[in-house]
Amino acid sequence: MVSRREVLASTGLATSLVAGCLGDSDGEEDYPTDDIEFVVPYGPSGGFGTYSAALCEMYPPYISDDAEIICTNREGAGGMEGMRFIMRAEPDGYTIGMFNSGTLLSNQFFEDDPGYDAREDIDWIGQIDQTEHFGIAGQHTPFESLEDMLDYDGTIRIGGTDPLGPTMITWYITALEMGIEFETVTGYDGLTDIVTAILREDVDAAIGNTTTFRPPVEDGEVRSLIHYGEESPEFAPDTETIFDLGHDDVSFIAGTGRWVGAPTGIPDDRLELLRDSFEEFIHGSEYQEWAEDAELPLNYRDPDGIDDGTEAVLGLLETHGDAIEDITA
């Protein structure tokens, strides 16, 4: 004879099984049913924070009528804390975020045990912008192009933040390929701090990005030296490019890519929704207008393009990695 307890237990078990089957959350029509966390690996000030704040405000209508995109700043370890947080998150489509291509890939290459592989641990959604690196020199120097540095008799001091940061790696590879001898002065807090160091004549040149270096170039306080894009920026049209110098391959690494991605393993339909909506959002008028007003560039690249870029950068690091480690030793 079946006891009352056994009947109740069986009923409860059956009810749970039925409820579990009905609770289907994998269908595209159910996603997103909750807010999506957008992780930013840096603080709210600065380029990444600025782009992200606007994204979190304007992106939601492209993906859902109900869900919001919540920006979360997780700074630390030069951005790696936030990026690792994204890679380790549950791959359910409710945690996505922004990656700094330079930091992500240089850290993967130079660290003994980075704990991740950007080619395998991230599903890319799209690129917001690839801010190409840009070099400047002080007005106190005779340098108007990189070639002026080749025959220079004195000490050339290059200012930087982190000796293994993306901009310094761009400089090392450039100098190695062109045969420029130099010394580094690192430890500066940011690119604007380096500009001040140039104005003080503490350092002679630096590699950074067009966003930060544009104002001092336009004001005539510093001289443009090199641009790592195919065409010179509009505010410094006479600037020599790395392509003019015949070192096209350096351009792969010479930029700060603001890549949006998610932990690998998201259901395909959710990933597709994220990718399609993101592309539509980037090309949408609202974000475009905001970027224009804020004088910030937008350069969308699709996930396949990001994969190609990743391979190109890692290949370049493979070629020059030993020499860079000798420089920074």
Partner: protein
Amino acid sequence: MFAAFLEALSILFTWPILGFVILATFIGMFAGSVPGINGPIVLALMIPVTFGMDPLIAIPFLAAMLGGTSFGGSIPAILINTPGTAPNAATCFDGYPMAQQGRASEALGISAAASGLGAIFGFTLLLLILPVSREIILAFSAPELFWLTIVGLSVIAVASDTSFLRGMASGGLGLLISFVGYTTITGDYRYGFGTDYLWDGVPLLIALLGLFALAEIIRLMVKGGSIARGSSVEVSFSQVVVGVKHVVTSPFLFVRSSMIGSIVGMVPGAGGTVANFLAYLQAMQTSKDPDSFGTGNPDGVLASEASNDAKDGGQLLPMILFGIPGSAGTAVLLGGLILHGVAPGRYMLQEGLVLTFLMILALVFANIASSIVGILSASHLSRLTIIPVDYIIPGLLIVCFVGAYSLRMNFFDIVMLPVFGFLGYAMIVYGYSRIALILGLILGPIAEVSFHQSLMISDIGGWIFISRPISLVLLLVLIVTVGYSGYSKHKDKIRSYMVTT
């Protein structure tokens, strides 16, 4: 320029801008008074809120929020020996002893008055030196910054509230802890045990919360009673007025302290913390009763708080001129400016001059408004010091741990907090200076980086440290400061020796 200033002034007092500025002031004041929720954090939280606002509303809103935190941070510094923001640390020296003596109302009155007047002084000076500020900022390079931090560190030896050797030991421990983490000089990760947690070093706010707030809570739990000890506890508005009067009747000390805050605050990297300790140091050295500093001397609170608010003007200068934030708060403010399409540099001094003045005026308004609110509410706030600790400890514990977690939403911050808490309590019990440890923790990285950078930029090796005019002046200040302090402490022995010989 004057026309732009007047236009900005008229815009500030229009609706709804004035309404937003007042609201921001209260938010900033609250944030500054709660340890763990400081200016940069609340500002970062509010930037997305301003999205979509007109820049003429958003910019003064953010600036006023930052202005409100300066005075707000002195409230916990005085009442529970916990600086609300790092620059308020020097206020703990004498503010908390005053609270323990039942003079919390007086201390808060001094703080409120010095803060408001210091802000006015700082911004007046900012407007006067704006035309030449660029040259001043450019004159401070790595060697100057190095000596500035060493002068700041000398406060450990000079102003230590415990014995000299114990003060040096504490400062040395602070320096050791400060070297943990990734260094951008060599690209090495030091003593991180392979984790990401310590990459950026030991979090300063966690150290502050632990060493001061949590350690104080432990001490109160052990001792019981209330914060204010003894029978002569005065909690009244008249005591607040006594504090305000003290500021008004100490004009020379006020001006010197504010000048130090404004000028040192202009140096990017040195920040408000160094300025406040330097102001405190000069107050002690010019006092007729230097030995009373650290035991509840009102001049200690005056100097620190006047400098703390005067520095706000100075810290804006490198941000406006070069886009270099002078502090964590101005760094976040800068992010807000860029988000609203305001580029630092030439634009802020030419086409955007009205907006620049509006930002400055909102900051001054917030400083003054928070000071007035502080004066009016000081007597009520100081009642915290007579409440039996059994009632306030649970709330303080919650504030501490929530504040620690809210910093980075990192679980290990919660683990680190009691480590520093028990360290701080041990330091109280065995008579080691926690202020000295914090000084070492804050100034160590700046001193290390500036030292290495000086050698990197030098064509003459180590001689760079004494070959530049400002460096030489700072070195002389250091020698005179330490030498005079040593003489003052041991003058009886020195005189006795000279007589016998």
